[in-house]
Amino acid sequence: MSVTANITPSRAADRVAVRSWKLPVLFGVLALFAVIVFAVLGPDGDATFRISQEGDAWQVPDLAVPAKVFGVVVAALCVLLAVRAYRQMKNEGRIDKWVAMTFTAAFVIGLLVWIIGGTKTQNITLVGLFTGAMLITTPLVFGSLSGVLCERSGVVNIAIEGQLLAGAFTASLVSSITHNAYAGLFAAAVAGVLVSFLLAAFSIKYVVNQIIVGVVLNVLVSGLTGFLFEKIMKIKVDGATIYNQPAQLPEVPIPFLSQIPVIGPTLFRQSIIGYLMLVLVAAVWFGLFRTRWGLRIRAVGEHPKAADTVGINVNRTRFLNVLAGGAVAGVGGAYFTLVAVSSFSKDMTGGLGFIALAALIFGRWNPIGAALAALLFGVAGNLQSILSLAGTPIDGQFLAMLPYALTILAVSGFVGKSRAPAADGEPYIKG
């Protein structure tokens, strides 16, 4: 996706224009929000975090935080950091990374304490918060990795949603027929590749606008899986729907590591898909930024003509990357029916593919950034469902908006600069 910014004519003008006040202003507004909401209007109760659960290697006592006092501390910290950010921008023309990161962390934790301190139950298990978040985060990570692979090579992937859905459906169907969850997992990857093949064929071979193909493929997969769900998965043999009873992937706890409080149950008590996710994030990052393969892909995504000149087959690279992305997203889709839920239902991905797109952008087209963004969105999503029952000071719907609002801020340059690969979305025609 090419960013049509006003191109400044000379380098001198560049240097003047580089001082962006967006971030200090945003911090100022948020700090004001923190002062008013967290400190002045802060709830009087305690926010209790349960950290350990039974079976952990060692027990950590519950953490009770007086919400009001904590709110005052966070608000003060936010104000200080906002002032610091303003000063840095004024004097040096840039803001240190740690200022921005500390501000964000302080604000998020402050928000969390404020929300939980204001609920009626007032305590929350961190394990539940994070393990529940993984149900959302895992497919998000796979989806955004698919996006990273495609977009780094210059093909916009709006079809993540369709790839996830195709994976979920196929995994359920094949796992039900073969009674083998691993066969389902493999089939899901194949289904993702098939969707990707259509995306690649239409957008690379027939040079159709990539966004159009992506949008249409989402509708196609939704319709196709919906149709086959009605026609095949609802067939009953002896009163049971045999084609929608997938064998599940077992949970494989890693000895010792799974006993660490919070981190253990979240990261080391997962199915094989969960571990695959951790490996893939590292592998894609390493591959993209530390290998010759990755350099070629990024060259194709940033400047296809230059890549072509040095003998890289641009369209072949793109084609393969899009197919690889499809396989990754397909596996992510399998998570829905082989781990998270025990059967397929119509449109069960429910827009997660678009949140994955948001995570990809918010994570600045970087696998690790995208995974962290997916974790943030997963926690926000899970917090929303946890809090939907308790009366909270903030409506769950606003938490639901968070990923989307953050993404809009990111693409409009309020939260750092989220820049797409230069040739993202541009077809390459040799000649």
Binding site: A5, I158, V215, V219, L220, L224, F227, F354, I408
Partner: protein, 402 residues
């Protein structure tokens, strides 16, 4: 895509009337591709229907003993499904009530919001912007229209006008955000509009739990629209066709004039063809992006008005259905021309009306309609593919797109 579209179509000579241009568009070479794309998509849909039909599966079990049985099973499965689709969308002599026989009016009802939302996508598309956000703009339009529709009590006619205006403003705000961010910060409108769609859903769910909730209902649904605030039914109480259709036709004429006859439309097309050249020529590209998204959003907002003041009469979170996404396919099928969009919306309205009757009468899930629709667009978007299937020689003008 958009660039080549706009380049390919010269401004029609002023002496030609609107009617002749419509005919030329339908009769033109591109239209042949469109028709063939519909045919191929229907054939693939038919294959899907046949393959999943239990009778075909049974008959194919003894295929070599009696191949005719398989073919007749395929024929009956496909013809029943498409027959029901056709009758549901046009005229069904077998329906029990005479109102039920005239499915054509259901087609028009479904087509009304599709025309308006399709125009929204078309207009932005011609300016080189991809408005994926019709869905959110419809929701916002319906929310605004609903808020004044059941929140205020005004005299007849005035109330309806206020409702229509509010809906247009609601959609314009949502579209305008994307246009503003595109113009001022370079934020890609596809990303922003997708995100705004989801924000709109959350927003309306929040409002339906609080400010806009019907106090007499436990569900997240708004009160009924005021009697003065609804669009009058065109054919009496037996049919759902409402005056939104008139708004839609007026909008087609308006957008057609705007794009082809007005200075603003010329700027839009110039920006869509080549924003850099337009800037060099002294046009304010950023202003163009903002205003076109305001108008586009307003059109989608009117689709929201058609939904809430015409068809549904009260607001819930499903008010936009899948109209916003269908609108994209409608605009593509209509080749980003106002009248093309109009006919494409009629076709998709027919699919929707017929799909319901197909699901009831032929036990074929309405999802097949989504499959056929998306295949149509895929084939239309890739003319070389359809040409290679039917071995059609490329039209001369097509050469410019390479």
């Amino acid at each position: 895509m958009s660039e080549t579209q706009a380049v390919k179509e010269p401004v029609p000579p002023a002496k030609e009337g609107q009617g002749s241009q419509v005919i030329r568009e339908i009769m033109g070479g591109n239209a042949l591709i469109s028709v063939l794309a519909v045919v191929v998509a229907l054939v693939i849909g038919g294959i899907l229907i046949a393959v999943t039909d239990p009778r075909v599966a049974t008959a194919s079990g003894y295929f070599f003993a009696d191949p005719g049985a398989t073919f007749s099973a395929i024929w009956s499965a496909v013809s029943e499904a498409y027959g029901a689709l056709w009758r549901g969308a046009t005229y069904d002599p077998t329906a029990r009530t005479w109102q039920g026989q005239l499915g054509i009016f259901e087609t028009l009802t479904f087509a009304t919001p599709l025309i308006l939302a399709g125009l929204a996508v078309t207009l932005a598309f011609r300016t080189g912007l991809f408005n994926i956000g019709a869905q959110g703009q419809i929701i916002l339009g319906a929310t605004f229209a609903g808020a004044v529709g059941f929140g205020m009590h005004l005299p007849p006619v005035i109330h309806l006008l206020v409702v229509i205006l509010a809906g247009a403003i609601g959609g314009a705000i949502w579209g305008g955000i994307a246009g503003f961010l595109k113009a001022r910060t370079g934020a890609h409108e596809v990303i922003v509009t997708i995100m705004l769609n989801y924000i709109a859903i959350s927003l309306v769910l929040y409002l339906l739990k609080n400010q806009l909730k019907d106090p007499n209902s436990t569900n997240p649904i708004s009160p009924q629209m005021d009697d003065n605030a609804v669009l009058p039914l065109l054919l009496g109480p037996n049919f759902r066709v409402h005056a939104g259709l008139i708004i839609a036709v007026l909008a087609v004429i308006g957008v057609s004039w705007l794009l082809n006859r007005s200075t603003l439309g010329f700027e839009y097309r110039a920006i869509g063809a080549n924003p850099k050249a337009a800037r060099t020529a002294g046009m304010l590209v950023s202003r163009g992006y903002i205003t076109v998204m305001l108008i586009s959003g307003a059109l989608a907002g009117l689709a929201g008005v058609a939904q809430i003041a015409g068809t549904e009469k009260s607001l819930d979170s499903e008010i936009a259905g899948s109209i916003g996404f269908d609108a994209i396919t409608v605009a593509l099928l209509g080749r980003s021309k106002p009248w093309g969009t109009f006919f494409a919306a009629l076709l998709f309205g027919a699919f929707k009306a017929g799909g319901t009757s197909m699901a009831v009468n032929a036990d074929v899930s309405i999802d097949i309609v989504a499959v056929v629709q998306s295949l149509i667009v895929l084939f239309i978007a890739a003319p070389p593919l359809i040409r290679s299937i039917f071995r059609i020689k490329a039209a001369r003008r097509e050469g410019a797109s390479a």
